[in-house]
């Protein structure tokens, strides 16, 4: 008999760990740890062989084996091992090794886990409560790895990094893709790598503390496990800073005399805990469980078992045979670019176009005739200025190397880096990427229908009409990172990306990936790998998912043929022929007669566009403002981000970065980034005041009804009647059930019941707070008026503040669920009420009604229901703030969240009285009266907003201009939720309308809905049954109606906002798409807005949309000119006909005086057409919107 051992194996997403344990002593006898490079089975086999060598005397019969980790499943059977769930394994290891531990935080490559040990008060039993990250937040370790590459920090340096809490920038750590997007932006604005990594660490820690703990507080002592926690000291330091902060904030008692290093511990050999725990688990099992079978079955599984398992569930390969591949490659291979050659002494006059992309930067040299001379490329090294300098130097050196001289006659930039370059090197052109790509594609392929650009991070799809952008779709944060994913996948297999296609074409089958965000795809990849798919198949499968992500996820148009038949593919990803093959197959399958072109300079399409635009601008302007090639190469720059650069113009104190550029001629410039509002654009107070004044002027000129409504919804609404006296009479109803089960109601008159004077006095000082969130945006005036009419001091009716990033980062730590951001942010508003409003002056109650039904103007709707999440949030909040400690009770605040329905006013009145009668000591009459006044106030609020909206609509129609109608849910009025996107358009000179501000006067609306009413499809303009009968969701129904209105009003265009995960908006996407497509209404849809503000992406969208809107406006103006011409031609014709008629009558010796009068009047009118037009009103600026209205005669006059 040999000495028995128990093996624990942990097969993770990136590594395999093994321990050999003595079952008697529980001591680890042997251990090892290695990366598997996606070959889990091979790596496990290798480790097992080594164990065999280390324990030659132990026979197979004396080995038991327990296996854990995400990749463990398929290895269990061949090895004879028993599977142990990872968290269970870790829990058992911790219980065994550290009985005094209160909680564990483990960050792995894919998963993050938190285990909190709690004592059950009833039984005294210690139980472990575990939580794992949801699938939307997986890949923490992988994200850190990817970001280290992006910031260009070598891993040795990262391990030396110290956490500095004073230099942190915004990074969204909710999801790996979001984080990467933010990291790219930080890199591009020149933030030092160390600060970015610290910001990422802080974001990950805060995300875990706020979400993964599910609102629970970590108990001490805390054990930090997993790769990142073990190897990154700055991450450990960050935990040691943030965990005690949450303890202090929540009043958690922890030993303050113990050093933090002992309270928050990183144990030695932390990476082995899961493997060791698997063994501990095994020791609980009976002896027949986990009997090791030897390695033969594992070897056979590696060699043959894999293919058998894949079976029929796999998809087709990328190519079926060699000839198909050859034909494809011949047709689509991008011809190798031949750089221009120069003769010695030649002066090369050319422009440079530069595209500062997310992962790489590209530059092209183009001569005056538009001929492409040279291309240069560099992977991003962390600073856009440095990248640009390197590229320029490269171009210069290549020209000079041939003895020629380079004379740069213009410089243009596009991409992430364009803003900073515009400032530092005075670029002639700062063109938005979409336009640059469009210019480039049309230059090479002329009249095309669709341009699809896939870069490292973004997907841009442009739909063309008459050589210009008709509309466009861009990837959002959730569909970003596709190009990067292909590269990352190649990296994982240790392949250069250039060999991707070659490998993918070898696959005989492929796993069927579902489209989705890069994080989900990576989760899928782990799963398929576990199932046994090999490198080639995974590469092929991932290439095949790319077109799905483009056309199904980003574009979301299943009928591709409707987009046109000439498609251009461009962007760096097109160099990967596997991706091109998948795209071509996908498009050809759906558009059989389609033509697919691959841009000959795929990666440089943006830079070429920038160069072409530079040529145009410089020619037109006659000169360049570029500082010159040598000056740009010699440019010195310094990025600064500290206390000094912090914006102090508002309490947000945005952390800004100043990039100072020192040009060789001695001039300097400063580029400021990182601010969240326009005040941060400047440094001095005077400059800031000027900016604010300009903005106010702008707001006056171009009204923003979204901002107006958001403000007014929470202000007192004047005009409420005072409470009736006790002497006045009131009609009451007595109800009773009859024998037959019916209800009998009997009316009678009686005196109005008033509460006592003492109660009234008490109400004057009663303070009630409500969160400024969700549907309170559409019902705020109701509740404020209700309380004010009952005698509460208006200053004591308090709403939390508007959402800001700071509010969210400070108060977003209580949630146990992860719904849409509008619902999630409510906890931060409660935090603000508890820790600020209540602190200033104590609150008596917080009122946050469950609004099951909300007011809606849509007629004949099935229902006016709220979204279930929005309606249920008050109960979720109650759970979050009473779970561990009662935040209400401890502060003496009463929390009230009754269910109320705006569809049932009678019931609403009864419910309000039931809720408030004791707290406010009111009578039912008082409550009912206040509720009636509240309903009336809501109507007045509506009317006020609509009056202004009507004035704007009539004005723009008269002026032939455009207004942007923002369609969203009520809470998208919150600037913290709409990320100030409406304001961006306001600043571009467009008046902004909200749904509420569109007049609901049916007579006024019938002009636009005349055809629909005539056809009988609808019976009132406020109906949407003709497009959406399942219209029970009030806010969605109002959105759909607004889209219908915009489709019928020539001067209204749309900005469609939806929050990420919005379940009530999702079904309307297709409907709204249909409505706006058929009516050709320009629409910008942002369907995934979330907590973080994707500034770069918003900028591209705003700029591109403004470009589209300008075209639309031109069309409108053309239309007006044509309409005027028609009117003139009709008048002339009528005059001609009337004169003929007159002649006809004269011939019959007859006379018609009315006819003569008509002729005289018309002749005068026709003559007037020839006269010069009267001068425009000199006092008004034509570009401004003046609020006016139409009088009964149809003329637009002052309001």
């Amino acid at each position: 008999m040999t000495r028995p051992v128990v093996i624990g194996l942990d097969v993770g997403s990136t590594t395999v760990k093994a321990v050999v344990v003595d079952p008697e002593t529980r001591q680890i006898l042997w251990h090892d740890y290695r990366r598997h490079h996606t070959k889990q089975a091979d790596c496990a086999l290798d480790l097992m062989v080594r164990i065999g060598q280390a324990f030659p005397a132990t026979s197979t019969a004396d080995i038991r084996m327990f296996i854990t980790g995400s990749g463990a499943g398929p290895l269990c059977e061949p090895l004879g091992a028993k599977f142990v769930q990872e968290v269970n394994a870790v829990t058992l290891a911790v219980e065994s090794l550290h009985p005094d531990v209160g909680s564990v935080v483990e960050l792995g490559g894919q998963d993050a886990k938190i285990i909190i040990f709690k004592q059950n008060d009833k039984t005294g039993e210690k139980t472990a409560s575990c939580s794992m990250n949801d699938k939307c937040a997986s890949g923490t370790g992988a994200t850190i790895d990817k970001c280290m590459i992006k910031v260009g920090l070598p891993s040795e340096q990262t391990a030396q990094l110290q956490f500095d809490p004073d230099k942190l920038h915004h990074v969204a750590a909710k999801c790996g893709v979001f984080a990467e997007t933010d990291i790219v932006n930080l890199v591009k604005t020149g933030i030092p790598s160390e600060e970015i990594m610290c910001s990422l660490a802080d974001a990950i820690v805060m995300q875990n503390l706020s979400v993964l703990t599910r609102g629970n507080t970590l108990r001490h002592k805390v054990l930090l496990l997993g790769g990142p926690n073990t190897y990154l000291p700055f991450l450990q330091q960050c935990w040691r800073k943030r965990i005690p902060e949450t303890w202090d904030e929540r009043g958690y008692a922890y030993p303050k005399d113990v050093p933090l290093e002992e309270l928050i511990v990183v144990p030695k050999n932390a990476e082995l805990y899961a493997a060791y725990g698997a063994v501990m688990y095994g020791l609980h099992e009976t002896a027949d469980v986990g009997r090791y079978q030897g390695l033969d079955a594992l070897r056979s599984y590696i060699q043959t078992g894999r293919a058998q398992r894949l079976g029929k569930n796999s998809g087709p390969p990328l190519v079926n045979d060699e000839s198909e591949l050859t034909t494809f490659i011949d047709a689509y291979r991008i011809p190798k670019f031949q750089s221009a050659t120069f003769s010695a002494g030649q002066t090369v006059r050319a422009v440079i176009g530069l595209d500062g992309g997310s992962t790489s930067s590209k530059a092209v040299l183009m001569d005056e005739s538009g001929e492409l001379l040279l291309k240069a490329y560099t992977l991003s090294k962390g600073n856009p200025i440095q990248d640009a300098k390197d590229l320029l130097r490269d171009l210069r050196d290549r020209v000079h190397a041939q003895g020629a001289t380079l004379e740069v006659i213009g410089f243009g930039a596009t991409g992430y880096a364009a803003d900073v370059l515009e400032e530092c090197v005075r670029a002639d052109v700062n063109v938005v990427e979409t336009i640059a790509h469009m210019l480039s594609a049309t230059h090479y392929f002329g009249d095309v229908d669709v341009i699809c650009d896939i870069g490292g991070q973004d997907i841009k799809v442009l739909f063309m009409e008459n050589g210009d952008i008709k509309s466009f779709k861009l990837s959002n944060q959730c569909s970003a990172g596709n190009g990067m994913l292909l590269q990352a996948m190649a990296d994982q297999f240790g392949l250069p990306v250039t060999e991707y296609a070659e490998n993918a074409f070898k696959a005989q089958l492929s796993p069927k990936f579902n489209y989705g965000c890069a994080v989900f795809l990576d989760t899928d990849r782990v799963n398929f790998q576990k199932e046994g798919y090999g490198k080639e198949e995974l590469l092929a499968g991932l290439a095949q998912v790319l077109p799905k992500n483009v056309w199904q996820y980003v574009v979301a148009v299943p009928r591709l043929a409707q987009l046109g038949r000439r498609f251009v593919l461009q962007g760096g990803t097109q160099y990967n022929l596997a991706a091109v093959k998948a795209q071509v197959d996908y498009i050809k399958q759906r558009v059989p007669d389609g033509e697919v072109f691959v841009h000959p300079h795929s990666g440089e399409a943006g830079a070429i566009g920038a160069a072409m635009e530079t040529l145009r601008v410089v020619k037109r302007r006659g000169q360049s403002r570029f500082i010159g090639l040598q000056a740009a190469i010699d440019l010195e720059y310094r990025a600064k981000n500290d206390e000094e650069t912090k914006c102090t113009f508002c309490p947000n104190n945005c952390s800004r970065t100043f990039i100072d550029a020192f040009r060789p001629d001695g001039t300097t410039s400063r580029y400021i980034s990182g601010f969240s509002c326009e005040k941060g654009m400047v440094e001095s107070k005077e400059a800031m005041l000027e900016v604010v004044a300009q903005r106010k002027q702008l707001m006056r000129s171009y009204p923003n009804m979204v901002a107006y409504e958001a403000r007014k919804a929470f202000q007192p609404v004047p005009g409420a009647r005072p409470m009736p006296a006790a002497t006045s009479s009131v009609e009451d109803v007595q109800t009773a059930r009859t024998f037959w089960g019916t209800v009998k109601r009997k009316s009678f008159q009686r005196a109005f019941a008033r509460s006592s004077e003492a109660a009234a006095q008490k109400r004057k000082t009663f303070r009630v707070a409500m969160p400024r969130v969700l549907n309170m945006y559409s019902t705020g005036p109701f509740f404020r008026t209700y309380f004010e009419v009952l005698g509460l001091d208006p200053r004591n009716v308090i709403f939390s503040e508007e959402t800001t990033e700071e509010m969210w980062s400070e108060g977003g730590k209580y949630g146990s669920v992860d719904p849409c951001f509008p619902a999630k942010v409510v906890q931060a508003h409660f935090h603000q009420l508890f820790f600020h409003a209540h602190k200033e002056r104590p609150l008596d109650a917080i009122f946050f009604p469950i609004l099951t039904h909300v007011p809606s103007f849509v007629k004949n709707a099935v229902d006016h229901a709220s979204c279930p999440i929005v309606a249920g949030t008050p109960d979720v909040i109650k759970a979050a703030f009473t779970k561990e400690q009662d935040y209400f009770g401890t502060r003496g605040i009463t929390y009230l969240d009754p269910a109320l329905s705006f569809s049932e006013p009678v019931r609403m009145k009864r419910r309000l009285f039931e809720v408030w009668k004791d707290l406010l000591q009111i009578t039912e009459d008082e409550s009912d009266f206040a509720a009636e006044e509240a309903f009336a106030a809501l109507e007045r609020f509506d009317l006020d907003v609509q009056t202004k909206g009507k004035a704007i609509l009539e004005q723009i129609e008269a002026d032939d201009r455009l207004a942007i109608l923002v369609i969203g849910r009520p809470y998208h009025l919150d600037p913290g939720l709409n990320h100030g996107i409406p304001d961006e358009f306001q600043q571009q000179g467009y008046p902004i309308l909200s749904i509420r501000s569109v007049p609901k006067d049916e007579a006024w609306l019938s002009r636009f809905f005349a055809e629909d009413l005539k056809s009988g499809r609808i019976t009132t303009p406020l109906e949407i049954g003709d497009v959406w009968p399942e219209n029970y969701s009030a806010n969605s129904a109002m959105k759909v109606w607004a889209a219908k209105f915009a489709a019928r009003h020539p001067n209204v265009v749309l900005l469609d906002l939806s929050s990420f995960k919005c379940g009530h908006d999702a079904p309307t996407y297709g409907i709204i798409d249909r409505i706006v497509e058929q009516s050709a209404v320009p629409t910008l849809g942002l369907h995934d807005i979330d907590a973080n503000k994707p500034g770069g992406s918003i900028k591209i969208r705003v700029k591109t949309y403004v470009h589209s809107l300008k075209r639309h406006q031109e069309r409108l103006e053309d239309l007006t000119v044509k309409k005027q011409e028609l009117a003139r031609r009709l008048d002339e014709k009528r005059l001609e006909l009337l004169r003929m008629k007159q002649a006809e009558l004269s011939a019959r010796q007859s006379r018609d005086t009315t006819l003569e009068a008509q002729i005289t009047a018309l002749a005068a009118k026709v003559a007037a057409y020839q006269a010069p037009a009267p001068e425009a009103e000199p006092t008004t600026q034509p570009q401004l919107i003046r609020l006016r209205k139409k009088n009964p005669e149809g003329e637009v006059v002052a309001l």
Binding site: I850, P868, V906, Y1069, S1079
Partner: protein
């Protein structure tokens, strides 16, 4: 130019000129605004013979039996297969972005089937649109479920089946069908009765299967019995025979299954979003199968629970509003509603539902199965999850977790929901966090399905199953210890005893079925006949006492509760009941007529036989054959298709 000989019509000339000018200037383009042309599916009685109803969306058993019921009603009907990952891919391609998983799976499943008909069976899209209709359950809010039909229309249109008819059998309404002609799918009492019989028999068969399978000794025996049982009921539904008798016949298949209930099997109560918790395929990663594979016993949620909840909703909403000073309008308002009639109807409905369910359950051998008391469920959950919050399972998820813990109903509660499910992951899970704090002993696992990442999904379930398994083992060990017996002794006692049969259900004491059984047989194992008789006598006395005290009290309490409604019930019976009679009679007459009238082929055969002069003996034989054929006329095609 107008002809000068005619009187000049200025207006007509001007109109003609305007038309020309508009065309010249490009101003004649009228915007034809989009309207949905698929809103009113029109399915008429005339189309019925050559139209196939596609059904799907419930469990495999339910879909199968609904097919049988609809065939029995004379429809051509075909059920869709259980949605799989290919359905998800179709759903994602043709559905809106950001939909929930059940939408993608169910919508994609229909599109997948239609594409199969087109691409594999070679039917043209026009033919499919004309000859197929999809019938499914629907709702009208408040989560995405209520908008499924919107999604069906979008996906079908985009997949090239513009105009395909989706008929919605609304949860709380009728069938959305506006047609001047005779309805293709009339929602009459026979229709409801047939569907109800299919659904309830599906429920009891499913519940029994999940009760037995984890304990079966021979793997696959339960599945075999389930197949046979479903076929029995299918045939009964198809041929208008008694479902109760069919279930009774099915009972024997289950009775013969060999089981061993002495193993520690953690009981896992599956809650969550309705589709995710009831589907049995890729939509929830074959969750039920996985739990059983991991050694657990599933406690599933039945369709009957949801129907009871729907009845409770209407009753609660009515009672809450009936005594207001005035009746509100709108969906929930009671304007123009006879409150008494409605409440009486609900009471009768609930009584009928419970009665039919229990009759079916007893017939098939599903004994000691208690349908939940919806008032208790609402009461328990209300302080945490407001009863007026609707959507999905409403307050039931929270309340059922509490009841599971309070009443020792299961070792573990597994709440499964699609990624981003609004009522379940958005609200219930948030509230559950306080429940698990209040009941630290609860093993609660909330897990989302997304169609990707089965590894993570299984891993999460295993995480909690580990604890549940430990608890189940402790529970059974404690029970054995309490009675001082070993597992082997218990097994020996059970062998050959009625306690050890598949259909036996021990009274509820502990969480697990095994522990319950040990508690039941513990006092009997190793005892003499006399001692056993004493135990039996004591149990009988206890049961009788409880019947007299608890049950009579409960009956009295419910009689008191119901008494005020009795006059209204009488009115209900007078109005609704009488109006149902003609429809039932008519339906019966139609069936009899159909049964008695020979088909043209049979008539021709008879005529041919009678006209034949040769082989008189053969004529006699043929007449006999035709007579038999006539009697079983409705059964022949059914037998063929049912097989």
């Amino acid at each position: 130019m107008p002809n000068m000989n005619d009187a000049l019509n200025v207006d007509a000339e001007l109109a003609r000129f305007e038309q020309e000018e508009r065309a010249r200037l490009g101003l004649d383009a009228q915007v034809d605004h989009w309207t949905d042309s698929m809103i009113d599916p029109n399915f008429t009685a005339k189309e019925r013979p050559h139209t196939t109803l596609l059904v799907g969306g419930l469990t495999i058993a339910h879909d199968f039996l609904v097919e049988g019921a609809l065939r029995g009603l004379g429809y051509n009907c075909r059920r869709l297969e259980c949605p799989d990952n290919d359905s998800l891919r179709f759903g994602k391609e043709f559905g809106n972005v950001s939909q929930c998983n059940p939408t993608y799976f169910t919508v994609g499943n229909l599109v997948k089937e239609l594409c199969r008909l087109r691409d594999e069976e070679g039917l043209s899209a026009e033919h499919i649109i004309k000859h197929f209709v999809f019938l499914t359950a629907g709702a009208c809010g408040p989560c995405r479920f209520g908008m499924y039909v919107t999604e069906y229309r979008k996906a079908l249109r985009d997949a090239g089946f513009d105009g395909f008819r989706v008929m919605l059998f609304q949860q709380t309404g009728g069938l959305k069908q506006a047609s001047g002609e005779e309805l293709g799918l009339p929602l009459d009492p026979p229709f409801f009765l047939a569907i109800a019989r299919a659904l309830f028999s599906g429920d009891v068969i499913n519940a029994l299967g999940y009760r037995i399978r984890p304990h079966e000794v021979e793997p696959g025996a339960t599945d075999r019995a389930l197949m046979q049982a479903k076929q029995e009921v299918y045939d009964a539904l198809h041929h208008h025979k008694s479902v109760v008798l069919a279930l009774r016949r099915a009972r024997k298949y289950f009775k013969d299954i060999k089981v061993d209930r002495t193993q520690a099997k953690p009981k896992v109560s599956i809650l969550g979003e309705f589709w995710a918790m009831t589907t049995e395929g890729d939509g929830n990663y074959h969750l039920q199968e996985f739990v059983e594979r991991e050694g657990g016993e599933n406690e599933i949620q039945l369709l009957a629970f949801l129907l009871l909840y729907n009845l409770w909703e209407i009753r609660h909403d009515t009672e809450q509003r009936m005594l207001l000073k005035a009746a509100d309008s709108g969906k929930f308002g009671l304007a123009d509603t006879d409150v008494g009639l409605r409440l009486a109807g609900l009471w009768v409905g609930e009584l009928a539902l419970r009665g039919v369910f229990q009759t079916f359950a007893h017939a098939v051998g599903l004994t000691h199965f208690t349908l939940p008391d919806m008032d208790e469920v609402a009461r328990v959950g209300h302080s945490h999850y407001n009863q007026e919050l609707r959507g999905g399972e409403g307050h039931m998820e929270v309340a059922k977790l509490m009841l599971n813990v309070m009443h020792n109903k299961s070792h573990m509660t597994l709440s499964v929901k699609p990624f981003g499910c609004m009522p379940s992951s958005g609200v219930s899970d948030g509230v559950q966090s306080v429940i698990t704090e209040l009941f630290p002993e609860a093993i609660f696992c909330a897990v989302e399905t997304s169609g990707e990442g089965a590894v993570n999904f299984y891993s999460r379930v295993q995480l909690f199953l580990f604890k549940a398994r430990q608890r189940a083992q402790q529970e059974i060990d404690a029970a054995l210890e309490q009675y001082g017996i070993t597992r082997e002794q218990a097994q020996a006692f059970l062998a050959g005893s009625s306690y050890g049969t598949a259909l036996h259900r021990a009274p509820h004491v502990a969480c697990g079925s095994g522990a319950d059984l040990i508690h039941e047989i513990g006092p009997l194992v190793g005892r003499t006949r006399a001692e056993q008789a004493r135990v039996h006598a004591a149990r009988l006395a206890d049961r009788t006492y409880r019947l007299v005290t608890d049950d009579v009290r409960a009956v009295y309490a419910s009689a008191r509760k119901v008494a005020p409604y009795l006059p209204a019930v009488a009115r209900w019976a007078a109005s609704e009941g009488l109006s149902m009679v003609p429809a039932l009679t008519q339906s019966l007459q139609q069936n009899v007529k159909q049964w008695l009238t020979p088909t043209p082929e049979q008539q021709a055969e008879v005529a041919r036989a009678e006209a034949s002069e040769a082989a008189p003996a053969g004529v006699v034989q043929l007449r006999k054959k035709v007579k038999t054929a006539l009697r079983f006329k409705t059964e022949q095609p059914a037998a063929a298709s049912g097989a």
